[in-house]
Symmetry: C2
Amino acid sequence: MTDSTEAPRRTRIQQEKRELILEAALEVFSTNGFRGSTIDQIAEAAGMSKPNLLYYFRRKEDIHETLMERLLETWLAPLRELDDIGDPMTELRSYIRRKLEMARDFPRESRLFANEILQGAPRIMPLLTGELKTLVDEKAAVIKGWMRAGKIARTDPWHLIFAIWATTQHYADFDVQVRAVLGPNRGGEGRFEDAARFLEQLFLDGLKPKG
Amino acid sequence: MTDSTEAPRRTRIQQEKRELILEAALEVFSTNGFRGSTIDQIAEAAGMSKPNLLYYFRRKEDIHETLMERLLETWLAPLRELDDIGDPMTELRSYIRRKLEMARDFPRESRLFANEILQGAPRIMPLLTGELKTLVDEKAAVIKGWMRAGKIARTDPWHLIFAIWATTQHYADFDVQVRAVLGPNRGGEGRFEDAARFLEQLFLDGLKPKG
DNA sequence: CAAATTTTTGACCGATTGGACAAACGTTAG
DNA sequence: CTAACGTTTGTCCAATCGGTCAAAAATTTG
């Protein structure tokens, strides 16, 4: 029953309350940023008093830190799945689709991440130059292999990955702008399907080998 | 000498000091967000005392408001220039290039805007549903004309504009991540040229009519 | 039951925040 | 010089911030 990691063992109530707090904090942090959010706001969103919240998380930063740690794993999962086996075009297409689905289903996580990066990534910089760079370099090598094999057009794999990130996360991070511009009709639920269709056409036709 | 607009007339010193403050505020707001920035920070960055700053801008929000008003005009200028005369492919290419140059030359402005949108655009929502939507709809109509004429591939003009925004602004808003992933060598000055080459290939090959 | 432990709360603290204000300072015009 | 006006600053304030603490309340354990 002892944890394999350094995490302290916790009671069932502690587990549940911590989850409640993290859920509330995700809501608050993602819309106000770290410095723009207050412990009171999070406590109220979690339905408890401030001292009670601080009983489960000693400092405001601890909440944010826990949130970011969890986030990064789920956030990079789609890229990790990008595999050398299977048709390159299909792999890229499904990667784009998965990323867009995440923007649709987890917009708060996307905005939380965007907030952190926008402000210079003061809390997760080591992860960017370490784990993230390693992963991206690895996948860039895979993509380069596809290019050498003539499966997709030759281009810069790193900037290709950036472009996929940018276009998909845009629908989470800039959601209000997207909806404002599309208007009530086209900005409704169908906007993600429109986006999926467009992105598929943009990336795949653009990457099609010139055979 | 009377202003044509509602702006109050100001002395030469007021003009200069206000510019100084706005420059400092751009730096501070763009990296810390509105709520994350303090008047003291801005005052210090502008080299003056807090009460002195408040002599030129009565409230913190006034600074941000002035900044956003100016920003939006210069920010949308490239899209306004997108014109029906000239070759569609060339027009789109130069629009992408101009947007990328703005991400390179005015990253703080981009981040200021991103911060505002991320937090739900509480201060500029009317501009999004009004002026911005009107402009985008207008340009989308132009692009649609190009598609009907067979000059570019048929696709969704609105999402095409979103994709151009997303991919170019990514190099300003997510700059730290881009540099972290590219590393010291490829993340240097040349990264914008690499990005320009990649984006040109992505968009143009993807938009080339299938003739 | 009662004791031990965990959870919750109200009251409080020092630091920081946005902003007010009157007094001092500088500059210019008569 | 002096009066008027524009500029700058030190001081102060109420509100809010992150966080502490002791004590009450609830829960678990024996």
